[in-house]
């Protein structure tokens, strides 16, 4: 091996970040256990792991949000204490959080200088930032209008502002936490181009994600975390998605969804010229036609905020609309009496809402109470006209806990005390066991770990195989492609086109999601 070999050079260089024996506990929960990691300068280092594996905690320690119980941090070979974010910034660390930390009413420029102003007056700071932003834009292709107000620009742009914030503070190390969750595929590609550019300029990048594909495509090295521990660090070129998944979960995982060919029957759901105008007078759905047949999963792809949520809400009885919706040939009321969730359930629609913590569960209530919601009028849960039969409800919950392998298996725990995956299983169990004609599922696996994803996907497919209609909304293209028998893409309140999963790919769907190539593609 010659001395010019990059791999060789990496071994001998001083790591940009070195963590030694980091441990952090929250009460009885050990979020990080004796974690050691070396991130080499000028590389893209991926950190992958399931939700709750401790990735975010580790990065929060590095950014001064939490203090580690034990362990040492070395930045560029120097032992560094990071008691707060100020210290992290001083050490040259910049962080792009999953949920952006931007002031929505401020301009790009104001957000960039916030906390890094020169002097007490704003004018000189703003002028300097404007100049520097121009330079950074030229250097890294990070073009953003400095005078745009954050709430007026898209998430992709907002993310660039976050990166610019870090670069403005002269960060050499950039940590990105689940950066592609809110992006279209083309925006994600753009982001990765920017990241490679930054890497070429000598910046060190830590990429936290649960998407195996991104790790495989973008990173040089990858570390895997499981249950608070660092289980492996490998060269990306020397590993495979299957191997990484196994390292993450601790057992072999099926990454593909196994399902029989579709045998679609009669039309269950028929939507014609549906329109929704929201509270602010904005037209969110601009005339949609859609059919879902029995024994078929229709996937609704789209970037969040293009009307999919509103469609689910209309069908689930949470929002008024105009147009026509037929279920098994019967028109449903779209506003006024008979258009609420109760009526929809009676009609045979079950709904796994997108945001389980706000719409699917009451976090402070017990698991068994949550299992009863929406079905509390079911005679099986009632004792006479007035009283609930709580014992029956609890017994039913126990049965569901066993059947869906919900852990911990204790119906007296509040919803908050379950992990994301198990919370979702509670909702899924409640809705699917009603044997609905139509199942609405929104983001079924958001914030759910790989093991539970596999389980939930199997349940959805089983329902479809039993001859039920399923309408799936997801921002995860992989999920849409893997589960759906037919894919409709939404953009700006309209359906841009329908595709069959075998006859399309992420690239084409990505274009449709971005509003391009209407029907022509």
């Amino acid at each position: 091996m010659s001395a010019d070999d990059p791999a060789e050079r990496q071994e001998t260089a001083v790591p940009a970040i070195e963590l030694k024996g980091i441990s952090k506990a929250f009460g009885p929960v050990q979020a990080n256990r004796d974690i050691s990691i070396r991130v080499m300068p000028g590389t893209i280092h991926g950190i992958i792991g399931e939700n709750g594996a401790g990735k975010s905690t580790l990065m929060s320690i590095l950014y001064g949000f939490y203090k580690a119980d034990r362990g040492e941090i070395f930045i560029n070979g120097r032992k560094t204490d990071i008691p707060d974010s100020q210290a992290a910034i001083a050490a040259g660390i910049g962080m792009v959080f999953q949920h952006f930390k931007l002031v929505e009413t401020f301009t790009v420029l104001e957000n960039v200088i916030l906390g890094a102003e020169d002097g007490r007056l704003l004018k000189p700071s703003l002028a300097k930032a404007r100049r520097l932003l121009k330079e950074l834009a030229a250097e890294y292709e990070l073009n953003v209008d400095p005078d745009a107000v954050i709430s007026d620009i898209g998430v992709g742009m907002q993310q660039r502002v976050e990166i610019l914030k870090a670069l403005y503070r002269q960060a050499d190390i950039l940590i990105l936490d689940e950066p592609t969750g809110v992006l279209t595929p083309s925006e994600a590609d753009q982001l990765f181009r920017i990241l490679h550019r930054l890497k070429d300029e000598g910046k060190t990048i830590v990429l936290i994600t649960h998407k195996l594909r991104e790790i495989m495509e973008a990173t040089d090295t990858v570390s895997v975390m499981r249950r608070g521990e660092m289980t492996a660090t490998v060269r990306t070129a020397e590993t495979s998605p299957e191997h990484l998944a196994e390292l993450m979960v601790g057992r072999k995982v099926l990454l593909r969804v196994d399902k029989a060919p579709v045998r679609a029957g009669r039309t269950v759901l028929e939507v014609e010229n549906l329109r929704v105008i929201d509270e602010e007078g904005v037209e969110r759905i601009r005339g949609i036609d859609l059919k879902v047949r029995a024994g078929e999963i229709v996937g609704l792809a789209g970037v969040a905020g293009n009307g999919q949520s509103e469609l689910l809400e209309v069908l689930g009885g949470m929002r008024a609309a105009t147009g026509l919706v037929r279920l098994n040939g019967e028109a449903l009321a779209l506003s006024g009496p008979g258009s609420d969730g109760q009526a929809r359930r009676a009609a045979g629609i079950a709904h796994v809402p997108e945001d389980r913590q706000r719409e699917g569960l009451i976090m402070e209530f017990h698991a068994w109470e949550n299992v009863g919601f929406g079905y509390h009028r079911d005679p099986a849960y009632r004792r006479g006209a007035v009283f609930m039969n709580n014992a029956a409800l609890r017994a039913d919950t126990e049965a569901k806990i066993a059947q869906y392998d919900i852990r911990p298996a204790n119906c007296w725990l509040t919803a908050r005390n379950f992990s994301g995956g198990n919370q979702q299983k509670i909702v899924v169990a409640r809705e699917m066991e009603r044997n609905p004609d139509l199942l609405l599922v929104g983001q079924p696996t958001r914030g759910v770990d790989i093991g539970a994803i596999e389980f939930i996907h199997k349940q959805i497919v089983a329902l479809r195989d039993a001859g039920k209609a399923v309408l799936l909304v997801s921002v995860e293209l992989e999920e849409i492609l893997g589960l759906s028998d037919r894919i409709a893409v939404m953009f700006d309140g309209r359906i841009m086109g329908e595709r069959l999963p075998g006859a399309t790919d992420e690239k084409e769907l990505g274009l449709l999601m971005a509003g391009m190539a209407r029907e022509a593609a």
Binding site: S85, K101, V103, T105, A116, K165
Partner: protein
């Protein structure tokens, strides 16, 4: 209404608007930083009492002002402690401060002065005297502009000028300084400030302190300039009217001034025209007195268009991953 009456009503408007304006700006700083404060009323009341009491005892209105501001700052500190440090409910803390002030002022007044819960009447150096601006007298003869200058602009206690100068000052601080940028940011998204390496807690305490200072001046003005001494519940809901004006003004200093002048005008009209005859029907004085409060309710009920408050208002900041 002839010209002289108009000047008199407007002059009265300025006087009535001053405490509202000070309280409104106080609320503006607090709420812009994300701390809702319905305790403006209580802080003003406490300041009114302590300024009058100290002015009565020492005979020095400046010491009175200092005591009033001190009392208001203490209550602000309490609100800060409850809502920033202990992340309590800001509304409840505000309500508690209002009750505390309403009860304590009368109780202490009775204990100290034994005049049925009021302070002795303030005279001479115990009150803020009107200030005559330069050339007021010599210009009084000039038509129109003369009376406007000598009657309307000149001849107010110093705190009136403080209140109106506080408007451009507040605007400048909020929109032209680093502190203002951070303060507005912390009211919209404290996480952005925190991740930028700036202390959310320090900023919010700073805002609450400014709020206490301005409320203190407002209370002192009531008891030692507008009136001559403290009487029970003398703030008469001004703290709440100031909040309504703040919403009306959509949390902006210049708009706050106009909103407070509008409320001040209604109060001045009610003072001037006790019973108004409209075609043989007499509008009773109570109806006139109620006008500012009716407008308050209308504003709070959202009849003046949607006002979007600072996004993080009322929410304690808890660090999250």
């Amino acid at each position: 209404m002839d010209f002289v009456t108009l000047i008199q009503v407007l002059d009265s408007t300025v006087r009535m608007a001053t405490p509202l304006l000070l309280a409104c700006l106080a609320g503006l700083f607090s709420e812009r930083a994300g701390i809702f404060d319905i305790g403006l009323e209580g802080k003003m009341l406490a300041a009114a009492f302590f300024s009058a009491a100290v002015a009565a005892i020492t005979g020095n209105v400046w010491l009175g002002l200092l005591a009033g501001v001190g009392a208001s700052l203490l209550l602000s500190g309490l609100h800060g402690l409850a809502s920033i440090t202990f992340r309590g409910n800001q509304l409840i803390s505000g309500v508690a401060i209002n009750f505390l002030a309403a009860g304590m002022t009368v109780l202490i007044a009775q204990d100290w002065f034994e005049q049925g819960g009021r302070t002795p009447s303030l005279t001479g150096p115990g009150r803020f005297p009107p200030i005559t601006l330069p050339f007021a007298e010599s210009l009084a003869g000039v038509p129109v502009l003369g009376p406007v200058y000598s009657e309307l602009i000149s001849g107010h206690p110093v705190l009136v000028y403080v209140a109106f100068l506080a408007v451009p000052a507040s605007w400048w601080i909020l929109f032209r300084t680093r502190f203002g940028l951070r303060l507005r940011a912390v009211g919209e998204n404290p996480a952005a400030v925190d991740t930028a390496g700036v202390s959310v807690v320090a900023l919010r305490y700073g805002a609450v302190a400014i709020c206490g200072l301005l409320c203190g001046i407002a209370g002192a003005y009531l008891a030692t300039a507008l009136q001559a001494g403290f009487v029970k519940d003398m703030t008469a809901g001004r703290g709440f009217i100031a909040l309504a004006a703040l919403i009306f003004a959509k949390w902006r200093p210049w708009h706050a001034m106009w909103a407070c002048l509008l409320f001040g005008f209604l109060q001045a009209v009610a003072l001037r025209y006790q019973n108004i005859d409209v075609g043989g029907f007499t509008i009773p004085v109570q109806a006139m007195d109620a006008l500012p409060y009716v407008l308050t309710v209308l504003i709070l009920a959202g009849f003046v268009g949607r006002a979007i408050p600072p996004r993080a208002g009322g929410e304690p900041y808890v660090k999250e991953r």
